[in-house]
Symmetry: C2
Subunit: 205 residues, 2 copies
DNA sequence: TATTTTTCCTAACAGCGTTAGCAAAGGTAA
DNA sequence: TTACCTTTGCTAACGCTGTTAGGAAAAATA
């Protein structure tokens, strides 16, 4: 009697195809232009079927939100593991964060878009918590090894996260920096190096 | 023959009432829920009249975008003028920026919302340029007075802007920081002070 | 085979940005 | 004042959007 199992399997297939179709549409036309009707059309089902698998459009987007933080967390973790020294780890994390944002603009814009109903609190999204955890453990160790053990770890984590997000988001939305002779890539690298240098200094002394 | 003048005056009145009604609606229901029909209803005209004064909805929003940067630029300028020492000026600018964002969340979200079609390039929005100018002159002077005249001013301006935006935006969207015993206000102040201290250090040495 | 459950569609509701086309009002000239 | 022209502002529509009620058809169960 594998009927229930088969049904469950089929359900999952439809659900997955919704996500897959959505992702495809998003990459073609952006978040703004994703619509339930387009999804239904792509998966060759009628509109209400989509609502059998997701409560509403927001639920689909928040699925990608979680996926995004999962992926980002994994990338940071991976970058961290390429070094043993926590300072180098934080440096690698910084660059990995930057690369993720630029290689996955659609994800990033969804994850941090203000208009989007995505950024629930830290506590309610485990993927977000795990992502922050990678940063936290690294900074914690830098502080422990430094000369200023009194630093507030969470405050520093918060600052790190905020600042790297700021650096990324401003550069993500206005990619043409015309003030200088430097190339865009060099300018970005310089900004990042400058940032991480200053930040680490603030951690250990 | 003041007919033309009267007509112009009346046109301006309608235009202003559109902006005023929009602003009112935005503060009641947020950017997401602003609609041309609601505006038309509020100003007691039919929908197409709105389109006689603004090319489209985006044009109305971008009006507020410019207003926002004008206001922010003025606030920063004002804050700067309370001090003569450029380091103190930058400190005042930082706090003024923060206060602006928290006292005018609607403005700030419009100005930096990724989904919004607002952040055109620096060059094309004079209000944005003026706002950046306040930061630029201050940082320029700090560098000049410091021990590291070789610092790239524009790079530092860019970093400053990005980081303060990051600090603000993360705190604007997730106001509940539950990791610590500190109050929210104290936490924010601590973050800001920490940031500005580190940033200035990076400028002068 | 008859009954119940599940699946899935059509069609609609209420809203959106935007525009075509027409009526009425206002201004101008005879 | 009358005839004409220009401006103003309306109704109504087009083609979208998210969401859901209600019923038909298919599948599973008895």
């Amino acid at each position: 009697m594998g009927i229930v199992e088969r049904k469950e399997r089929q359900r999952k297939e439809v659900r997955d195809s919704i996500l897959q179709a959505s992702w495809h549409l998003v990459n073609e036309e952006g978040w703004q232009n994703l619509s339930i009707r387009k999804i239904a059309d792509a998966i060759e089902y009628s509109v209400p079927v989509v609502y059998d698998h997701f409560e509403n459009k927001e639920a689909i987007l928040s699925e990608f939100n979680r996926q995004g933080f999962k992926l980002l967390g994994d990338k940071l973790s991976e970058a961290k593991n390429t070094h043993a020294n926590p300072v180098l780890q934080l440096e690698a994390i910084t660059f990995a964060y930057w690369d993720f944002a630029f290689n996955n603009k659609e994800y990033y814009q969804l994850m941090y878009g203000l208009g989007m109903p995505t950024c629930e609190s830290l506590n309610s999204v485990p993927e977000l918590m795990a992502f922050i955890g990678v940063i936290h453990t690294t900074i914690e160790e830098i502080i422990k090894n430094g000369n200023n053990a009194g630093s507030d770890t969470w405050l520093k984590v918060h600052s790190f996260w905020s600042m790297i997000h700021g650096l990324v988001s401003i550069n993500l939305m206005s990619p043409e920096v015309s003030h200088l002779g430097m190339s865009q890539v060099d300018f970005n690298k310089a900004i990042l190096k400058d940032f991480i240098k200053g930040f680490v200094k603030g951690l250990i002394e």
